[in-house]
Symmetry: C2
Subunit: 205 residues, 2 copies
Protein backbone atom coordinates (compact mmCIF):
# COMPACT_ATOMS: atom_id res chain seq x y z
CA UNK A 1 0.00 0.00 0.00
CA UNK A 2 1.26 3.48 -0.82
CA UNK A 3 0.42 6.30 1.52
CA UNK A 4 0.30 9.98 0.69
CA UNK A 5 1.90 10.73 4.05
CA UNK A 6 5.17 9.57 5.58
CA UNK A 7 3.71 10.08 9.06
CA UNK A 8 0.84 7.70 8.33
CA UNK A 9 3.20 5.27 6.68
CA UNK A 10 5.44 5.14 9.72
CA UNK A 11 2.53 4.79 12.16
CA UNK A 12 1.00 1.99 10.08
CA UNK A 13 4.36 0.23 9.74
CA UNK A 14 4.88 0.30 13.50
CA UNK A 15 1.35 -0.87 14.29
CA UNK A 16 1.53 -3.73 11.82
CA UNK A 17 4.64 -5.13 13.51
CA UNK A 18 2.30 -6.20 16.33
CA UNK A 19 0.97 -9.79 16.17
CA UNK A 20 -2.39 -10.19 14.46
CA UNK A 21 -2.38 -6.65 13.08
CA UNK A 22 -1.96 -6.42 9.33
CA UNK A 23 -1.64 -3.30 7.20
CA UNK A 24 -5.38 -2.82 6.77
CA UNK A 25 -6.12 -3.10 10.49
CA UNK A 26 -3.16 -0.85 11.27
CA UNK A 27 -4.52 1.79 8.92
CA UNK A 28 -7.96 1.53 10.50
CA UNK A 29 -6.41 2.07 13.94
CA UNK A 30 -4.35 5.02 12.73
CA UNK A 31 -7.40 6.67 11.14
CA UNK A 32 -9.30 6.07 14.37
CA UNK A 33 -6.56 7.85 16.31
CA UNK A 34 -6.87 10.78 13.90
CA UNK A 35 -10.57 11.06 14.64
CA UNK A 36 -9.98 11.22 18.41
CA UNK A 37 -8.55 14.07 20.46
CA UNK A 38 -4.76 14.35 20.58
CA UNK A 39 -4.85 13.30 24.26
CA UNK A 40 -6.13 9.87 23.25
CA UNK A 41 -2.96 9.09 21.30
CA UNK A 42 -0.70 10.69 23.90
CA UNK A 43 -2.30 8.67 26.72
CA UNK A 44 -1.89 5.45 24.73
CA UNK A 45 1.75 6.17 23.92
CA UNK A 46 2.56 7.16 27.48
CA UNK A 47 0.89 4.06 28.95
CA UNK A 48 2.83 1.78 26.60
CA UNK A 49 6.23 3.39 27.21
CA UNK A 50 5.65 3.64 30.98
CA UNK A 51 4.68 0.00 31.06
CA UNK A 52 7.63 -1.15 28.95
CA UNK A 53 10.28 0.84 30.83
CA UNK A 54 9.02 0.40 34.38
CA UNK A 55 7.60 -3.11 34.50
CA UNK A 56 9.34 -5.54 36.82
CA UNK A 57 9.30 -9.29 37.12
CA UNK A 58 8.62 -10.78 40.53
CA UNK A 59 11.88 -12.19 41.94
CA UNK A 60 10.01 -15.19 43.35
CA UNK A 61 7.57 -16.30 40.67
CA UNK A 62 8.68 -14.23 37.61
CA UNK A 63 5.18 -12.94 37.04
CA UNK A 64 4.98 -9.34 35.81
CA UNK A 65 4.70 -6.95 38.73
CA UNK A 66 5.02 -3.29 39.72
CA UNK A 67 7.30 -4.24 42.64
CA UNK A 68 10.20 -6.62 43.27
CA UNK A 69 7.84 -9.17 44.80
CA UNK A 70 4.38 -9.46 43.19
CA UNK A 71 1.17 -9.11 45.16
CA UNK A 72 0.44 -12.82 44.91
CA UNK A 73 3.79 -13.92 46.38
CA UNK A 74 3.61 -11.25 49.09
CA UNK A 75 0.05 -12.21 50.07
CA UNK A 76 0.48 -14.27 53.26
CA UNK A 77 -3.16 -15.39 53.19
CA UNK A 78 -2.46 -17.54 50.13
CA UNK A 79 -1.52 -21.20 50.49
CA UNK A 80 2.32 -21.28 50.55
CA UNK A 81 2.46 -25.06 50.19
CA UNK A 82 1.38 -25.26 46.57
CA UNK A 83 2.85 -23.79 43.38
CA UNK A 84 1.09 -23.75 40.04
CA UNK A 85 3.59 -23.82 37.20
CA UNK A 86 2.42 -21.92 34.10
CA UNK A 87 3.85 -20.86 30.78
CA UNK A 88 3.21 -17.12 30.95
CA UNK A 89 1.40 -14.25 32.64
CA UNK A 90 -1.79 -14.80 30.68
CA UNK A 91 -2.17 -18.20 32.29
CA UNK A 92 -1.86 -16.64 35.76
CA UNK A 93 -4.62 -14.20 34.87
CA UNK A 94 -6.81 -16.97 33.44
CA UNK A 95 -6.45 -19.11 36.59
CA UNK A 96 -6.90 -16.13 38.93
CA UNK A 97 -10.14 -15.29 37.13
CA UNK A 98 -11.59 -18.69 38.05
CA UNK A 99 -11.28 -17.84 41.79
CA UNK A 100 -10.65 -21.57 42.33
CA UNK A 101 -6.99 -21.40 43.25
CA UNK A 102 -5.41 -19.86 46.32
CA UNK A 103 -1.79 -21.02 46.08
CA UNK A 104 1.32 -19.49 44.51
CA UNK A 105 2.52 -19.47 40.91
CA UNK A 106 5.73 -19.92 39.00
CA UNK A 107 5.91 -18.39 35.53
CA UNK A 108 8.24 -20.38 33.24
CA UNK A 109 8.42 -17.72 30.54
CA UNK A 110 7.81 -20.27 27.78
CA UNK A 111 7.92 -24.02 27.21
CA UNK A 112 10.66 -26.31 25.96
CA UNK A 113 10.47 -26.25 22.17
CA UNK A 114 13.44 -27.53 20.16
CA UNK A 115 11.84 -26.21 16.95
CA UNK A 116 11.81 -22.65 18.29
CA UNK A 117 15.20 -23.14 19.92
CA UNK A 118 13.86 -22.85 23.48
CA UNK A 119 15.69 -25.15 25.87
CA UNK A 120 15.36 -25.67 29.64
CA UNK A 121 18.03 -23.01 30.31
CA UNK A 122 15.89 -20.33 28.67
CA UNK A 123 13.12 -20.90 31.21
CA UNK A 124 12.96 -20.14 34.93
CA UNK A 125 13.42 -23.79 35.94
CA UNK A 126 16.58 -23.15 37.98
CA UNK A 127 14.74 -20.48 39.89
CA UNK A 128 11.95 -22.98 40.64
CA UNK A 129 14.51 -25.48 41.96
CA UNK A 130 16.00 -22.72 44.15
CA UNK A 131 12.55 -21.92 45.47
CA UNK A 132 11.73 -25.48 46.51
CA UNK A 133 15.24 -26.28 47.78
CA UNK A 134 15.21 -23.28 50.11
CA UNK A 135 15.13 -24.65 53.72
CA UNK A 136 12.32 -22.21 54.56
CA UNK A 137 10.18 -23.47 51.66
CA UNK A 138 6.77 -24.85 52.62
CA UNK A 139 6.03 -26.18 49.12
CA UNK A 140 4.50 -29.66 49.13
CA UNK A 141 2.89 -29.81 45.68
CA UNK A 142 3.56 -28.45 42.21
CA UNK A 143 0.65 -28.29 39.78
CA UNK A 144 1.83 -28.55 36.17
CA UNK A 145 -0.55 -26.04 34.60
CA UNK A 146 0.84 -26.41 31.07
CA UNK A 147 -1.05 -26.75 27.80
CA UNK A 148 -1.66 -30.39 26.75
CA UNK A 149 0.52 -30.08 23.64
CA UNK A 150 3.67 -31.99 22.77
CA UNK A 151 5.84 -29.10 24.00
CA UNK A 152 3.77 -28.78 27.17
CA UNK A 153 4.06 -32.51 27.88
CA UNK A 154 7.82 -32.46 27.24
CA UNK A 155 8.23 -29.57 29.65
CA UNK A 156 6.07 -31.27 32.26
CA UNK A 157 8.13 -34.46 31.95
CA UNK A 158 11.43 -32.57 32.28
CA UNK A 159 10.32 -30.62 35.32
CA UNK A 160 8.81 -33.66 37.03
CA UNK A 161 12.20 -35.39 36.77
CA UNK A 162 14.00 -32.31 38.13
CA UNK A 163 11.61 -31.96 41.05
CA UNK A 164 11.49 -35.65 42.02
CA UNK A 165 14.61 -35.63 44.29
CA UNK A 166 12.94 -33.04 46.56
CA UNK A 167 10.06 -35.37 47.39
CA UNK A 168 7.46 -32.89 46.20
CA UNK A 169 4.19 -34.15 44.79
CA UNK A 170 3.43 -33.12 41.19
CA UNK A 171 0.00 -33.03 39.65
CA UNK A 172 -1.43 -31.86 36.37
CA UNK A 173 -4.61 -29.98 35.59
CA UNK A 174 -7.39 -32.34 34.48
CA UNK A 175 -7.78 -33.09 30.78
CA UNK A 176 -11.19 -34.05 29.48
CA UNK A 177 -14.32 -32.87 27.73
CA UNK A 178 -14.86 -29.14 28.38
CA UNK A 179 -17.97 -28.36 30.40
CA UNK A 180 -20.71 -27.49 27.93
CA UNK A 181 -18.86 -29.34 25.17
CA UNK A 182 -20.56 -32.08 23.19
CA UNK A 183 -19.13 -35.60 23.11
CA UNK A 184 -19.59 -36.08 19.38
CA UNK A 185 -17.39 -33.08 18.61
CA UNK A 186 -14.57 -34.04 20.98
CA UNK A 187 -11.40 -35.36 19.34
CA UNK A 188 -10.60 -39.04 19.77
CA UNK A 189 -7.55 -38.59 21.98
CA UNK A 190 -9.34 -36.33 24.46
CA UNK A 191 -12.40 -38.57 24.52
CA UNK A 192 -10.27 -41.72 24.89
CA UNK A 193 -8.26 -40.24 27.75
CA UNK A 194 -11.35 -38.92 29.45
CA UNK A 195 -12.71 -42.47 29.64
CA UNK A 196 -9.42 -43.87 30.96
CA UNK A 197 -9.11 -41.12 33.58
CA UNK A 198 -12.81 -41.11 34.54
CA UNK A 199 -13.60 -39.79 38.01
CA UNK A 200 -15.92 -41.24 40.65
CA UNK A 201 -19.49 -39.98 40.45
CA UNK A 202 -22.07 -40.47 43.15
CA UNK A 203 -25.29 -38.90 44.29
CA UNK A 204 -25.63 -37.86 47.91
CA UNK A 205 -28.72 -39.43 49.52
Amino acid sequence: MEFSSKLIESAVANFSRLPGIGQKTALRLVLHLLKQEEDFTQDLSKALVDMRLNIKYCKECHNISDDDICNICSNTVRDQSIICLVEDTRDVLAIENTSQYNGLYHVLGGIISPIEGIGPDDLTIDSLINRISNPESEVKEIILGLSPTMEGDTTAFYITKKVKPFGIKTSTIARGIPIGGELEYADEITLGRSIVTRTAYSIED
Copy 2:
Protein backbone atom coordinates in the same frame (compact mmCIF):
# COMPACT_ATOMS: atom_id res chain seq x y z
CA MET B 1 -9.94 -9.07 34.36
CA GLU B 2 -7.74 -8.20 37.34
CA PHE B 3 -4.08 -7.48 36.74
CA SER B 4 -1.29 -7.80 39.23
CA SER B 5 0.25 -4.64 37.81
CA LYS B 6 -1.15 -1.14 37.43
CA LEU B 7 1.20 -0.50 34.51
CA ILE B 8 -0.18 -3.47 32.60
CA GLU B 9 -3.71 -2.49 33.53
CA SER B 10 -3.26 1.01 32.14
CA ALA B 11 -1.59 -0.19 28.94
CA VAL B 12 -4.35 -2.77 28.36
CA ALA B 13 -7.07 -0.22 29.10
CA ASN B 14 -5.60 2.21 26.57
CA PHE B 15 -5.12 -0.44 23.90
CA SER B 16 -8.64 -1.78 24.29
CA ARG B 17 -10.12 1.65 23.58
CA LEU B 18 -9.11 1.08 19.97
CA PRO B 19 -11.78 -0.35 17.66
CA GLY B 20 -11.75 -4.14 17.30
CA ILE B 21 -9.34 -4.62 20.19
CA GLY B 22 -10.84 -6.24 23.27
CA GLN B 23 -9.17 -6.87 26.61
CA LYS B 24 -7.74 -10.24 25.62
CA THR B 25 -6.20 -8.94 22.41
CA ALA B 26 -4.91 -5.86 24.24
CA LEU B 27 -3.21 -8.08 26.81
CA ARG B 28 -1.68 -10.20 24.06
CA LEU B 29 -0.27 -7.05 22.43
CA VAL B 30 1.06 -5.74 25.75
CA LEU B 31 2.78 -9.06 26.52
CA HIS B 32 4.23 -9.01 23.01
CA LEU B 33 5.68 -5.55 23.66
CA LEU B 34 7.25 -6.88 26.87
CA LYS B 35 9.00 -9.62 24.91
CA GLN B 36 10.52 -7.13 22.45
CA GLU B 37 13.34 -4.65 23.02
CA GLU B 38 12.40 -1.36 24.67
CA ASP B 39 13.08 0.43 21.37
CA PHE B 40 10.17 -1.40 19.77
CA THR B 41 7.66 0.21 22.14
CA GLN B 42 9.37 3.59 21.99
CA ASP B 43 9.36 3.58 18.19
CA LEU B 44 5.66 2.69 18.13
CA SER B 45 4.75 5.40 20.63
CA LYS B 46 6.82 8.02 18.86
CA ALA B 47 5.35 7.18 15.45
CA LEU B 48 1.81 7.45 16.81
CA VAL B 49 2.32 10.75 18.62
CA ASP B 50 4.31 12.26 15.72
CA MET B 51 1.57 11.25 13.34
CA ARG B 52 -1.24 12.57 15.53
CA LEU B 53 0.38 15.93 16.30
CA ASN B 54 1.89 16.70 12.92
CA ILE B 55 -0.56 15.32 10.40
CA LYS B 56 -2.23 17.87 8.13
CA TYR B 57 -5.27 17.74 5.92
CA CYS B 58 -4.86 18.86 2.32
CA LYS B 59 -6.52 22.28 1.91
CA GLU B 60 -7.87 21.24 -1.48
CA CYS B 61 -9.15 17.67 -1.13
CA HIS B 62 -9.04 17.14 2.69
CA ASN B 63 -7.04 13.96 2.34
CA ILE B 64 -4.44 13.39 5.04
CA SER B 65 -1.12 14.83 4.05
CA ASP B 66 2.28 15.86 5.37
CA ASP B 67 1.95 19.26 3.66
CA ASP B 68 -0.72 21.91 3.16
CA ILE B 69 -1.46 20.53 -0.30
CA CYS B 70 -1.25 16.74 -0.70
CA ASN B 71 0.91 15.07 -3.31
CA ILE B 72 -2.12 14.06 -5.41
CA CYS B 73 -3.50 17.62 -5.66
CA SER B 74 -0.05 19.05 -6.35
CA ASN B 75 0.71 16.49 -9.05
CA THR B 76 0.17 18.39 -12.32
CA VAL B 77 0.38 15.20 -14.38
CA ARG B 78 -2.97 14.05 -12.96
CA ASP B 79 -6.21 14.83 -14.76
CA GLN B 80 -7.48 18.11 -13.25
CA SER B 81 -10.90 17.81 -14.92
CA ILE B 82 -12.25 14.98 -12.78
CA ILE B 83 -12.82 14.64 -9.05
CA CYS B 84 -13.63 11.38 -7.30
CA LEU B 85 -15.69 12.01 -4.19
CA VAL B 86 -15.01 9.52 -1.39
CA GLU B 87 -15.98 9.06 2.23
CA ASP B 88 -12.53 8.83 3.80
CA THR B 89 -8.82 8.36 3.30
CA ARG B 90 -9.07 4.59 3.14
CA ASP B 91 -11.16 4.90 -0.03
CA VAL B 92 -8.46 7.09 -1.63
CA LEU B 93 -5.88 4.42 -0.84
CA ALA B 94 -8.13 1.65 -2.16
CA ILE B 95 -8.72 3.48 -5.46
CA GLU B 96 -5.07 4.50 -5.80
CA ASN B 97 -4.07 0.86 -5.39
CA THR B 98 -6.09 -0.10 -8.46
CA SER B 99 -3.89 2.18 -10.65
CA GLN B 100 -7.03 2.77 -12.77
CA TYR B 101 -7.67 6.39 -11.82
CA ASN B 102 -5.59 9.42 -12.61
CA GLY B 103 -7.86 12.29 -11.52
CA LEU B 104 -8.21 14.20 -8.25
CA TYR B 105 -10.09 13.32 -5.08
CA HIS B 106 -12.32 15.02 -2.56
CA VAL B 107 -12.56 13.43 0.89
CA LEU B 108 -15.96 14.10 2.48
CA GLY B 109 -14.90 13.01 5.96
CA GLY B 110 -18.02 10.89 6.42
CA ILE B 111 -21.47 10.44 4.90
CA ILE B 112 -24.82 11.96 5.75
CA SER B 113 -26.32 9.83 8.51
CA PRO B 114 -29.22 11.23 10.55
CA ILE B 115 -28.95 8.26 12.96
CA GLU B 116 -25.36 9.16 13.84
CA GLY B 117 -26.19 12.87 13.78
CA ILE B 118 -24.01 13.62 10.76
CA GLY B 119 -25.53 16.28 8.54
CA PRO B 120 -24.24 17.94 5.34
CA ASP B 121 -22.57 20.71 7.38
CA ASP B 122 -20.31 18.18 9.11
CA LEU B 123 -18.83 17.15 5.77
CA THR B 124 -16.57 19.02 3.34
CA ILE B 125 -19.38 19.71 0.87
CA ASP B 126 -18.98 23.52 1.04
CA SER B 127 -15.33 23.10 0.25
CA LEU B 128 -16.23 20.97 -2.78
CA ILE B 129 -18.62 23.69 -4.02
CA ASN B 130 -15.83 26.28 -3.54
CA ARG B 131 -13.49 24.09 -5.54
CA ILE B 132 -15.80 23.71 -8.52
CA SER B 133 -17.09 27.31 -8.43
CA ASN B 134 -13.55 28.70 -8.57
CA PRO B 135 -13.18 30.43 -11.99
CA GLU B 136 -9.84 28.65 -12.50
CA SER B 137 -11.42 25.24 -11.92
CA GLU B 138 -11.09 22.76 -14.78
CA VAL B 139 -13.46 20.22 -13.21
CA LYS B 140 -15.91 18.70 -15.69
CA GLU B 141 -16.97 15.50 -13.91
CA ILE B 142 -17.50 14.34 -10.35
CA ILE B 143 -17.44 10.60 -9.69
CA LEU B 144 -19.56 9.69 -6.67
CA GLY B 145 -17.33 7.00 -5.17
CA LEU B 146 -19.59 6.32 -2.19
CA SER B 147 -20.66 2.98 -0.75
CA PRO B 148 -23.99 1.68 -2.14
CA THR B 149 -25.75 1.94 1.22
CA MET B 150 -28.75 4.05 2.20
CA GLU B 151 -26.47 6.68 3.71
CA GLY B 152 -24.20 6.63 0.68
CA ASP B 153 -27.15 7.02 -1.70
CA THR B 154 -28.59 9.88 0.39
CA THR B 155 -25.26 11.66 0.30
CA ALA B 156 -24.89 11.07 -3.45
CA PHE B 157 -28.40 12.49 -4.03
CA TYR B 158 -27.72 15.57 -1.89
CA ILE B 159 -24.42 16.34 -3.58
CA THR B 160 -25.79 15.78 -7.08
CA LYS B 161 -28.45 18.41 -6.37
CA LYS B 162 -25.85 20.84 -4.99
CA VAL B 163 -23.55 20.37 -7.97
CA LYS B 164 -26.22 20.55 -10.68
CA PRO B 165 -26.25 24.39 -11.02
CA PHE B 166 -22.59 24.33 -12.05
CA GLY B 167 -23.28 22.16 -15.09
CA ILE B 168 -20.87 19.49 -13.98
CA LYS B 169 -21.46 15.89 -15.01
CA THR B 170 -21.85 13.44 -12.11
CA SER B 171 -21.29 9.71 -12.38
CA THR B 172 -21.24 6.85 -9.92
CA ILE B 173 -18.95 3.86 -9.68
CA ALA B 174 -20.51 0.77 -11.28
CA ARG B 175 -22.59 -1.53 -9.11
CA GLY B 176 -22.88 -5.18 -10.09
CA ILE B 177 -21.60 -8.67 -9.50
CA PRO B 178 -17.99 -8.56 -8.21
CA ILE B 179 -15.48 -10.10 -10.60
CA GLY B 180 -14.90 -13.67 -9.46
CA GLY B 181 -18.24 -13.66 -7.63
CA GLU B 182 -20.85 -16.30 -8.34
CA LEU B 183 -24.32 -15.35 -9.58
CA GLU B 184 -26.18 -17.70 -7.26
CA TYR B 185 -24.68 -16.07 -4.18
CA ALA B 186 -25.38 -12.47 -5.24
CA ASP B 187 -28.22 -10.73 -3.40
CA GLU B 188 -31.42 -10.05 -5.36
CA ILE B 189 -31.07 -6.28 -5.47
CA THR B 190 -27.54 -6.37 -6.84
CA LEU B 191 -28.43 -9.06 -9.35
CA GLY B 192 -31.61 -7.25 -10.41
CA ARG B 193 -29.80 -3.95 -10.89
CA SER B 194 -26.94 -5.62 -12.73
CA ILE B 195 -29.44 -6.87 -15.33
CA VAL B 196 -31.13 -3.48 -15.69
CA THR B 197 -27.78 -1.69 -16.00
CA ARG B 198 -26.18 -4.30 -18.27
CA THR B 199 -23.32 -3.10 -20.45
CA ALA B 200 -22.64 -3.77 -24.12
CA TYR B 201 -20.51 -6.82 -24.81
CA SER B 202 -18.92 -7.65 -28.11
CA ILE B 203 -16.06 -9.70 -29.41
CA GLU B 204 -13.53 -8.04 -31.68
CA ASP B 205 -13.10 -9.98 -34.92
